[in-house]
Symmetry: D2
Subunit: 169 residues, 4 copies
DNA sequence: TTTT
DNA sequence: TTTT
């Protein structure tokens, strides 16, 4: 059925790139999309939307986008369900078919972590979406220098079985 | 910023129509949008998306759509934030600019609650989205025969101050 | 770059299915999309949009849609250019990634040409878009019972070189 | 019915701003949207799409966009019909609900015509869309310093009767 | 936990 | 809590 989303906004952090057990790249990031109208307090609010990208596009995202980058996303909305403390939780994300880099070419100077994995050298890496899967522990695996992912691309570890067979392409 | 969503799917229940204190109509419903590809178990999953509609369109939705109706939605994604048991929760919804009725004309026979407010006569009315606002109690107010809403259109009661001033049009 | 179109409307005619020289299926049809507001004369106008679909989806369109069918289209806009009488002409079409059939299942009774090629038995087959390519003549070739296409899927014959290599997937 | 288009691309020229007889601002420009895949010759083609914007947004477009600017457009497709030399011609355009400026703030240096009406001082003004209305002559009228438009916003003059009553809002 |  |  028709399920189409188009967004333009800015990354709230560097993207995170991980790999499924069979080597499929998956990148995640949050896009801040400013609302068109200000609220009663005269503030211009934003919506913070979770984006997932797979395969080659995931690696491009990891290489070319960073915190603050302007990007366009064309994809579909998906809701994932999980249990937490016996309560059903919902996690809404946009699965991107296509991510467009909207920064001017020469604007990548400084700021980006040069190791391209979105994690500051010393800090442990966590789930960028606090409301998401909670049973995460520090993921020690590496794959091509990136963090490996067995399942939920938004968690450091997980029981939801995600593999290439889930990929709709 | 650009934030555009287009969906086609079926209502999981009759829509709920409420009114803000100053009389603005607001309807909510959940749209089941089938995914394009089946999962590893060969099942065709669906995403269940929360839709909000305001004003005249809200009343049309309440009058013409019911559980199972096929509908198209053109709108934008919005994330609302609230606290529950000291934890931040997120509620994602589509604010519809336009809802299109895709049922054939003569297909409204039977099934729909004829009082058009989406609540079965004897049952208390609750939040259609379990993950949403929890501090709801049965709303006793009525307005033109419909349930009144002071705030969160998805709750029976609430502290989030929603009024016509929030309306972006 | 981002180029996304979503439409819901009705077919003005049965779709036309053709094949490129190397056997790729391509279907074309016109979708009548009613405007949301009526004009000064109080009439509800429609826009007539040219749709192209490739491969398996093309065959599904030919098999399941007919004149009058309600359908959703998710795709991108494309403009083709050609010369006619020494003047540059533009032909705008939507290349569909996905076509959704919105007719209720049991509603296909009668009306559709059972040979599934969109052409009434006795009538010569023409370009469904009168404003389009003009240098058309009756196409005599057949391919699996369908009309073959060497180039412009909207013409009966043509000089624009279209082949599978043009397919972006 | 659902008719939604989202585009990101670059202006091929400065936008043109005109006014209807009753003072409604209308801006037009062409957006070059690069295709995602290169063709057989390895070239990355673009589609050139005609955009119309009305009212306040039209004036913003005229003030903030110029040739080469990156912009996002959210709107709907519309086809206009006219006769030329006894032949029916079609003109496809995107009526924008919303135009987003995607250029970095400090990037407006040089290049733009400072009179903000999109017309070079000495040159006659023409239809930016060669395939469009042909019976144009230089429009002499002015309105608040801008070119006035009686009808087709893409022509310098015209017989198609466009007025504020046509505005769907 | 949020971007400009 | 989910629709056909």
């Amino acid at each position: 059925m028709i399920n189409r989303v188009v967004l333009v906004g800015r990354l709230t952090k560097d993207p995170e790139l991980k790999y499924t057990p069979n080597g499929t790249a998956v990148a995640t990031f949050t896009l801040a999309v400013n609302r068109q109208f200000s609220n009663q307090q005269g503030e211009r609010e934003a919506d913070f939307l979770n984006i997932v990208v797979w395969r080659k596009a995931a690696e491009n995202v990891a290489n070319f986008l960073k915190k603050g980058s302007l990007a366009g996303v064309d994809g579909r909305i998906q809701v994932r369900t999980y249990e937490q403390d016996g309560r059903r939780q919902y996690f809404t994300e946009i699965v991107a078919d296509n991510v467009q880099f909207l920064e001017p070419k020469g604007s990548s100077g400084g700021g980006r972590n040069n190791d391209y994995n979105g994690a500051p050298p010393m800090e442990p890496q966590g789930n960028p979406y606090g409301g998401g899967n909670q049973n995460q522990r520090q993921n020690q695996n590496t794959n091509k220098g990136y963090t490996r992912v067995d399942e939920d691309p938004f968690a450091g570890n997980g029981q939801i079985d995600i593999s290439d067979d889930d990929l709709p392409f």
